[in-house]
Structures are given as structure tokens and as C-alpha cells.
């Protein structure tokens, strides 16, 4: 193993510049400023995504609202589903599968690329907003020492 010699002991006592008395306060101010600017940037991004998402997907929402108002379709679908359930498991699975496939195709056909883009932007803005609202380290686990385990550094 390494032996400590006289030079080791001298190097441990080596003089160096002392920090300014207000350095810690300046660093705290710096961190606060960076936090504020980071928060502002994220807020602006969240709002921009939400607004552009709403604008891009507004035709989709308009059409959706109009169709819901016009037909009472949700009740009809519910009755169909109950009827299909009573008809037997096989027909239920088949009906549900066909229904979901049809729904998927219908959505894909009826929604334009810009509306998809808008929905994606809205979803992202929701995630960003949630990330800002949740407390830091909310997913953290602590050992009895107060240390965090499990997360990536």
C-alpha cells in the first residue's frame, strides 16, 4: 500500500486562496436565477405547445362535438355491446375486435396529419405541465440513511 511521506503531509497543509465571504450567497443567487429562467422557458414551451396543439386539432374537436350532439351514438353503442355480450363469448370477442379495428380505421381515415400533430403537441404540453406540477424527486425512495436507491445517476 502507499505510505504517506513528509511531502504528503506538507501537501495536505498547502495554502490556497480563501473564497470571498459572499461567494456562497452569490452562488445561491445564481442558482435561483437559473431556476427562474429554466421555469420560464418550460412554461413558454408548454403554452406554445398547448396553443398550437389546440389550433391544429380544433377541426377534429369541432367534428367530434357535432357528431356527439347529433346522434346519441354512445347509447346505441352501449346497447350493442350489451347485446353482443349476451350472445356469447365468441361473438363478443369477434364483435369487440371488429369494432375496435373499425374504430381505429375510422379514426385514422378521418383525422388529418395536422390533427395528429396537434394531438401530439397537446399531449406533450400536458406532460410538461405535469412534470412542473409534480414535486421534485416524487418517485424517490430513501433508505434509513436518507439516501436514494434505484434511480439512474
Amino acid at each position: 500500500m502507499d505510505r504517506r511521506d513528509d511531502l504528503d503531509r506538507i501537501l495536505e497543509r498547502l495554502p490556497s486562496d480563501a473564497p470571498r465571504r459572499d461567494l456562497a450567497a452569490d452562488i445561491s443567487r445564481y442558482v435561483r436565477g437559473k431556476r427562474r429562467s429554466a421555469f420560464s422557458r418550460r412554461l413558454a414551451l408548454t403554452l406554445a405547445l398547448a396553443i398550437s396543439g389546440l389550433w391544429l386539432s380544433s377541426p377534429l374537436f369541432s367534428a367530434l362535438v357535432a357528431s356527439l350532439k347529433g346522434s346519441g351514438s354512445s347509447l346505441a353503442m352501449l346497447l350493442d355491446w350489451i347485446q353482443a355480450s349476451l350472445a356469447g363469448l365468441e361473438s363478443f370477442v369477434s364483435y369487440t375486435w371488429n369494432g375496435l379495428t373499425g374504430l381505429q380505421t375510422g379514426i385514422a381515415d378521418s383525422i388529418s396529419a395536422s390533427a395528429w400533430l396537434g394531438l401530439a403537441a397537446l399531449g406533450l404540453s400536458c406532460l410538461l405541465a405535469l412534470d412542473q406540477l409534480l414535486p421534485r424527486g416524487a418517485d424517490a425512495e430513501f433508505t434509513s440513511n436518507g439516501y436514494h436507491k434505484g434511480a439512474e445517476a
Binding site: 502507499d2 511521506d5 513528509d6 511531502l7 504528503d8 506538507i10 501537501l11 495536505e12 497543509r13 498547502l14 495554502p15 490556497s16 486562496d17 480563501a18 473564497p19 470571498r20 461567494l23 456562497a24 452569490d26 452562488i27 445561491s28 445564481y30 442558482v31 435561483r32 437559473k34 431556476r35 414535486p135 421534485r136 424527486g137 416524487a138 424517490a140 430513501f142 433508505t143 440513511n145 436518507g146 439516501y147 436514494h148 436507491k149 434511480a151 439512474e152 445517476a153
Partner: protein
Amino acid sequence: MEQELIRRARTGDQGAFESLINIYTPSLFKVVRRMTIDTYEAEAILQETFWRIWKALPRYQGDRHFFPYLVTVATNLVRDAWRKERWLLPDEYEALADQFPDNLPTPETQIEAAERLQVLAEAVADLPPAYRAVIALRYDAGLSYEEVAAALGLPLNTVRTHLRRAKAVLRQKLETFYG
């Protein structure tokens, strides 16, 4: 106490984080100042270090002690600054260091006065960055060889070699100074 501050800072408590800044600034400054050209650079690196620590705290793993963690982040920033200059060791230093093995007669026993410590401090400041970093992390930060190697991203044997050569260069400079 510090663990409680770290726990609170991880949940977003700015006051707890500022207490950590107050606790660790003097010792971290000492380490960083040894590695940097001047006080302004050291202060800038400290500021950026604490900002990065604040951002990384939610993912901080407590299996590492906090001060070595701070030192590692600061050292990475110092190395980033050095990359603009030259991180690699000048060949002439390596050759010089190899001429002065550890068992040469040394003037260490004579070095007691503050003036002599100052001479050594200036000799350290003249070392190439890689040697200076090893000295700062080993003696100013009090890190183990393993922690120094982790902080610098170097193999353990390289750290030992750097330290041995740095000390040989310092011995040689002291010997020259005192005739």
C-alpha cells in the same frame, strides 16, 4: 443533518439547497481553485457545479458521499475548460518526473515555514493540469485513490503514476529552490 438537507433539497426545497451551498462552498472552492488558473474561473466553475447538482439531485444516488460527488461534477467542468487548452501531459514533464524517483534525498524535513509552503503551492500551480488535478483531489479534497480515479475517469494505476510523477517534480523544484 446534511443528509436531511440533501433529502429536502431533492424534493425541491431551495432553502435546504442553499444551506448545502453554504456548507460546501469553502471546501469545494479550495479544490477547484487549485485546479484553475485564477479565482474568477474557480468561482464560475463553482456556480455551474451547484446548478448542475441542483438539476441532478432528483437522480442522486446516495451510495456515493456527497462531497466526492460535488468534486466529480466540478472536476468534469474544469476538464471541459481545459479541453480548450491542453489536458494531456507535456512530454518534458514526464521525462523530468522519471528522473526523480521517490527515494531521492528530499528537503521535506526542512520545510516548515509558511514561506516554504508558499513555494510549494506555487510549484503545484506550475504543474500541468493533469498533475494539478490529482494533487487537488488527493490532498485538498481528501479523496481516496479510487475516488480520484472515478472523478477523473482515469485508471487507478494512471492516478498513482500521475501522483508519483507530480511529487517527483515538486521535490525537484524544491531542491532547486533551496539549492
